[in-house]
């Protein structure tokens, strides 16, 4: 009788009980929380800065906005492969540049060391996720009426006070939505981690 045709035995919560005592599972929880926490905070900070910058009257504004979107447009697997080359232990252009500049003596093992691998995948996720935050916050910034800034200027507010008391309160509903989606996407990220590390280093599960 094929295995699929055999009757299964109900095990209740046995799989969860087994997980509770599994150190690799708790390590993966730690890695996921670290990855989500660090990447989301940095994506928000960089994305907000970029959104404010793109909201100014810059030359080639439309082109700059399109360029900012590029990392988000590229399929995740393709950008992950590009980062895989960048992080290669032998042929990494980052290691090559640092060696040529005399800053390091040997190549950096980006994906072979546990902490290097963590920061490397976090950086790749930030690079990919910043455009989403920036463009969404930019859309929110454009709904803020210029008359509010004019009133704040008349009241003698400086740039920080204008951001703190005009921009930020009006942007908070958008920030809440963006951060919720950002946490959701980052927490459930699979493609980037799988292509870059296969769940490693050390063991294929770490």
């Amino acid at each position: 009788m094929p295995a699929s045709a055999r009757g299964g035995a109900f095990v209740g919560l046995e799989n969860y009980e087994w997980l509770w005592d599994d150190s690799v599972f708790w390590l993966s929880v730690f890695n996921t929380l670290l990855y989500t926490g660090v990447a989301t905070v940095i994506k928000f900070a960089v994305g907000l800065y970029l959104a404010i910058l793109l909201n100014e009257n810059l030359p080639f504004k439309a082109m700059l906005r399109a360029v900012v979107l590029i990392p988000f447009i590229v399929p995740t697997v393709l950008s992950a492969i590009a980062f895989w080359w960048l992080y290669d232990s032998q042929f990494s252009i980052i290691s090559w540049s640092l060696r040529k500049a005399g800053l390091i003596a040997t190549n950096i093992d980006f994906l072979g060391d546990v902490w290097n691998a963590r920061w490397s995948v976090i950086f790749a996720n930030i690079w990919r996720g910043v455009p989403f935050v920036a463009i969404t916050l930019l859309a929110g910034l454009q709904t803020v009426s210029p008359s509010l800034y004019e009133a704040a200027t008349i009241d003698g507010a400086n740039r920080w006070q204008m951001f703190r008391h005009v921009t930020y309160p009006l942007l908070t509903p958008i920030i809440a939505v963006v951060m919720t989606f950002s946490v959701l996407f980052t927490f459930t990220d699979f493609q980037l981690i799988w292509v870059l590390t296969r769940g490693g280093p050390v063991t294929p599960r770490n």
Binding site: T32, T172, I175, V183, F190
Partner: protein, 51 residues
């Protein structure tokens, strides 16, 4: 966690373990979403909802 779930369920053949890891993500995910959703709401909006 998503990677570990895939490895245990698809590559390792332990579908039950993989499913357990996947569903164990839900409480963490829910907590993170609740913090980012309610924690970042404008104080005026939160106050308005209470009234």
């Amino acid at each position: 966690m998503a990677t570990l779930s895939y490895q245990r369920a698809i590559l390792g053949g332990s579908l039950g373990e993989g499913a357990a890891i996947s569903t164990a993500m839900i409480p963490f995910l829910l907590g993170a979403i609740l913090i980012s959703w309610f924690g970042l709401q404008a104080p005026e909006v939160a106050a308005g909802r209470k009234q």
